[in-house]
């Protein structure tokens, strides 16, 4: 599989439930970032976790990173209908480059039913 693969590909939950999605990657990273994309719209930066961090919180979001397993998870607690979107992980590789490119996964489509 390619760098940055999310699972599941799609998730349907009721409002108030938690949503968990996972991301796996292959190469060593400097950091991993999660983005949200509403249908046909731009990418909104949610949270960045550095390779030396294991867990990070931002509001209702909780991100974990396990560099030994090359995986990350995004948990959205107490979901709302407005959380309906696609969620992507993007990895920043551990290379010395003047401009770092992000490698995106295929995304998890989350549907939160009211």
């Amino acid at each position: 599989s390619q760098q940055g693969e999310e699972d599941p590909q799609a998730l349907s939950i009721q409002e108030g439930e938690n949503a968990t999605m996972n991301c796996s990657y292959k190469t060593s990273i400097n950091n991993l970032q999660w983005y949200r994309q509403n249908s046909g719209r731009g990418l909104v930066h949610l949270i960045l976790i550095r390779s030396n961090e294991r867990e990070k919180h931002s509001g209702r979001l909780r991100v974990t990173l396990d560099t030994s397993k090359k995986s990350s998870s995004l948990l959205i607690t107490a979901s709302r209908a407005a959380d309906t979107a696609s969620y992507f992980c993007a990895t920043d590789p551990m290379i010395k480059a003047a401009g770092n490119k992000l490698t995106f996964g295929g995304g998890t489509r989350v549907l939160v039913k009211p």
Binding site: L43, H45, L48, A98, G99
Partner: protein
């Protein structure tokens, strides 16, 4: 809150025509990027730009593509002779020079349709 802006939001062009997509990055950012997303597919890196030159480019970014920072605020992507397969959403992004390896902030995208 400062944001990346892109124009136009939607561009329709005929195959073989040249298009220029425009972006205004966040004003104190020094690193600029273009990505694209073909409908239903992953977001793909095209090119990064720093200090008035390309710092990295992908295999997609062939001779038909070019980038330019014509003034202190705009960052453009030109496709010289568009192909049907260039139809995609094109995203511009920028990041803080002090934190180049950190968050990249994306614009809302330009939907390019090549007919």
């Amino acid at each position: 809150e400062p944001e990346v802006t892109q124009t136009p939001s939607h561009q329709v062009t005929q195959m073989g025509q040249e298009v220029i997509l425009r972006c205004v990055p966040i004003s104190n950012h020094l690193y600029f990027y273009w990505y694209r997303q073909i409908l239903g597919q992953k977001v793909e890196f095209l090119v990064s730009f720093y200090n008035n030159e390309i710092s990295e480019k992908s295999e997609i970014f062939d001779d038909q593509f070019s980038v330019e920072r014509p003034d202190g605020s705009n960052f453009t992507l030109k496709i010289r002779s568009t192909k049907l397969e260039d139809s995609a959403m094109y995203f511009c992004a920028s990041s803080d020079g002090k934190r180049a390896r950190y968050e990249q902030y994306f614009g809302p995208g330009t939907r390019l349709t090549v007919t």
